[in-house]
């Protein structure tokens, strides 16, 4: 086998895949194979139904041996999908896997064009480009990058907790960073979870305790990530630990300081209870918070703001001395090999749909607010009450608020139908009130969920199919006085109805966090069009991202319920653990290197590298590239004014070959 394709006998094997009907339905594969067969250097030219299958791959390996092929070109799907597969097939045949080039005639041709003639001409041109390119390929080896065994999990909701525990139980050292003062996420705010109506706290708090107690987990709450440097297996992450003004290792959570606070009564809106309850400036987020450590709100505490307070809290903690008003923000640097993002979601702001009256009528609440009312440890002790303290006699649930909506968010938030039916069941259980669910479609796909829908129907919950037009308090009939009226077209009955209720619950949809764009840039990821973190492949790689070593799980990847979130958490943990246990990752060797005999030392390339891979070597007076740092972008290669830098796999001659081939007359 030749190591340099410019010398010696070029023997190219060309394969065009039918991909069943996917390609062959639009591209005339035999015609392309015949066309390519005539090109110089092509020794074998075949078309086959499924090149990526075992027999397809074996065909390549066999031809390499039998026909002494020294180059292979496959025209099929996207290299992003199967380049690896075919490189392995080439290697199995005994040829260096980098003497291979792939041609995308599915995603870029048969799937996007309808004219058979044009699509076939395009396939021929693209195949020809690869035939000309592959001549210049060289033998290369995959590079190996070692993987640091520690892992960072960002986000301490149920997803982050499960991922952290899974890996910690597997013996890995995990850093769990959560920006709220306690882990638990949204699930900690739920009363019961569908479809089993388990108590959320009962299933969540044991896991939260396990996190705190686990010797392999370093839990940093009230902290966030501010900088990420490095690459897969070798990340250096800077975590900012915000000051609680309490020493975490000394506070035992007795809460004497809260009782002693100069504010006799809680006065400030309580975040955990979504503003429905009140707290003091010194507080613990909720009774089961992990860590059980109080914190001081720097914007509300008199001592922090003015320095002039009696500091009764300090006195109350005299024996442990856990309070410390001199605390400052700390920046801590950690080294990890993998990162899992489980940052969750935020809820749609119902004020954006003003006709539903949120913020205008006091008895229009969101699903999460009702959740807090229903919870026995919530601000009303589990009493579902209207703002004037009465129990509602009738409650309306409006679905798809900020979901499946051309004007706000187009996607389905996946959990709201089940969530609303659960709340409806709980409302009936607690108050006996009439419950009516206003829906476009009822989506109950999970295990036990359709049965839950049946149960809702059996329990007498009413369902009206129609998109609610508006909520009004303008009564047009005596029975509407003092109530909120829902105006909706009942599409099954076929007319517009006015339905008066005491309380309205809006099933607000899930959205990406407001800072999703900043966060994803921090981790060098992309977001999809809708703003959720982008997975590598929606079906085959839902928890991986395009950045090796960075995984996503849970709602930050897209709306989902608790079972699916936990499944993804486990999946991400498994992916990370697979890398750690292997100990290294193989990377495509598309790095650049300076051809020292040609470099003039003009220094034009040195300022261009964002990874500082290029430096000026004073003794030789030439540029030098550290291939361990080079990420393979090729910017320096394009910039070198004397053409003295070469990028493996994307050399000038290879690309010029592609250009010439793709434009050569058919």
């Amino acid at each position: 086998m030749n190591s340099n394709g410019n010398n010696g006998d070029l023997r190219i094997g060309f394969y065009i895949c039918h991909c069943g009907h996917n390609i062959a339905g639009v591209v005339d594969c035999p015609a392309v194979a015949q066309h390519i067969a005539k090109l110089p250097g092509v020794v074998v030219s075949r078309d086959y139904k499924y090149m990526c299958s075992d027999p397809g791959q074996e065909l390549i390996a066999q031809d390499i041996r039998e026909h002494r092929l020294n180059r292979v070109v496959v025209a099929s799907c996207s290299p992003l999908l199967h380049e690896h597969t075919f490189r392995n097939a080439v290697a199995a045949g005994g040829l260096n896997p980098f003497f291979f080039q792939m041609v995308n005639i599915r995603e870029h041709d048969s799937w996007v064009h309808t004219d058979v003639g044009a699509a076939t001409a395009k396939a021929k041109a693209l195949a020809q480009a690869a035939i000309r390119r592959v001549r210049f390929h060289r033998a290369l080896e995959m590079t190996r990058v070692p993987i640091h065994p520690d892992v960072l999990v960002v986000g301490g909701g149920i997803t982050g907790i499960h991922a952290a525990l899974t890996m910690a139980n597997g013996g890995k050292k995990v850093f769990l960073v959560e920006r709220e003062p306690s882990i638990g996420g949204h699930m900690a705010k739920f009363d019961k979870t569908f479809p089993t109506l388990d108590c959320a706290a009962c299933i969540l708090t044991p896991k939260m305790s396990a996190v705190r107690a686990h010797e392999n987990i370093t839990l940093w709450t009230y902290s966030d990530v501010v900088k990420v440097e490095g690459y897969v297996g070798n990340y250096t992450v800077t975590v900012r630990r915000k000051p609680r003004y309490v020493k975490e290792d000394l506070c035992v959570g007795c809460q004497e300081c809260i009782a002693a606070c100069v504010f006799k009564e809680p006065k400030f809106p309580d975040e955990f209870n979504v503003g429905l309850g009140k707290r003091k400036p010194i507080y613990i987020p909720f009774p089961q918070a992990v860590p059980q450590v109080v914190l001081v709100d720097p914007e509300r505490c008199i001592q922090v703001r003015t320095g002039k307070c009696k500091q009764t809290c300090l006195e109350a903690c005299a024996d442990r001395q856990a309070l410390d008003f001199t605390q400052k923000e700390q920046l801590v640097e950690i080294k990890v090999g993998n990162i899992i993002l489980a940052t969750g979601f935020k809820l749609f702001d119902a004020k954006r749909i003003p006709q539903y009256g949120y913020g205008l009528y006091p008895n229009v609440v969101t699903s999460l607010e009702l959740e807090r009312l229903v919870t026995s440890s919530g601000p009303t002790g589990g009493e579902i009450v209207l703002k004037d303290g009465r129990h509602p006699k009738s409650v309306g649930f409006i679905l798809c608020v900020g979901s499946r909506d051309m004007k706000t968010n187009r996607w389905c938030s996946r959990t709201c139908c089940m969530h609303s039916m659960k709340l409806a069941q709980l409302v009936r259980e607690h108050t006996g009130a009439d419950a009516t669910v206003f829906y476009m479609d009822i989506r109950a796909p999970g295990k036990g969920c359709e049965e839950f829908y049946d149960k809702s129907l059996k329990e007498g919950i009413q369902f009206v199919r129609g998109r609610v037009a508006e909520v009004t308090d303008w009564a047009l009939a005596p029975e509407e006085e003092g109530k909120l009226v829902i105006r909706v077209e009942d599409t099954l009955a076929g007319f517009v109805r006015r339905i008066p209720v005491d309380m309205i619950v809006l099933a607000v949809g899930m959205e990406p966090h407001a800072d999703a764009q900043e966060v994803r840039r921090l981790f060098n990821m992309s977001c999809g069009t809708e703003g959720w973190f982008l997975e590598k492949h929606p079906k085959l790689a839902p928890v991986s991202t395009f950045t090796d070593g960075v995984f996503i799980a849970g709602c930050c990847q897209g709306p989902k319920d608790i079972p699916d979130s936990i499944a993804q958490a486990g999946a991400a943990a498994a992916e990370a653990m697979a890398l750690i246990d292997k100990g290294y990752i193989e990377q495509e060797p598309n790095t650049a290197n300076v051809m020292e005999e040609h470099c003039s030392g003009c220094k034009s390339c040195i300022p261009l590298c964002p990874f500082t891979a290029i430096s000026f070597d004073a003794p030789s007076q030439k540029a030098r590239i550290n291939e361990a740092l080079c990420k393979g972008c090729g910017t320096c290669v394009a910039a070198c004014p004397s053409g003295s830098i070469r990028q493996n796999l994307f050399e000038d001659e290879e690309i010029f070959g592609e250009i010439e081939g793709v434009l050569a007359d058919a």
Binding site: L80, W111, L534, C633, G634, T635, A638, F656
Partner: protein, 171 residues
Amino acid sequence: MLDTTWQPRIIAFFCNWCTYTAADLAGVSRLKYAPNVRVIRLMCSGRVDPQFLLEALARGADGVLIGGCHLGDCHYVEGNAKTLRRFLMLKRLLADLGVEDQRVRLEWISASEGDRVRSVINEMVDQVRALGPLNLPGRFADWDREMTGLEAQVRAAEPQTAPKAGELTHA
């Protein structure tokens, strides 16, 4: 001479992480667009050497499209910034050399913008079609036609006999 069967051929250089992925997404979504573009995959738009554009045009491309990540989103931090800087000067150069503005285009297309791949390609193909073929190889051949007579003449001529003594023509 207007060739009614002529179809524009546009060469596109797409960056692996954003635009190439978006084009794959367009495929997965079965969006349909004009078949006139041929994509060459690079890891980053920063790898696009202006020589590639010029070579593509010189070899017969009617247009060239560069696709990269949005500014600030480059997988390699700011390869696309370098692309932009080169592109702005290249546009001026091409204008001075008589290449119409719409034939060379730079677009930032992120990995999830499959629909933009479709709309940008369709728009560009329409614009280039309206401009007509660039056909530089044909133009080069037209220009070089002014040369074809002499070579044949010189080849055909026999060496003339040496001048006789007394007919010296030089000192």
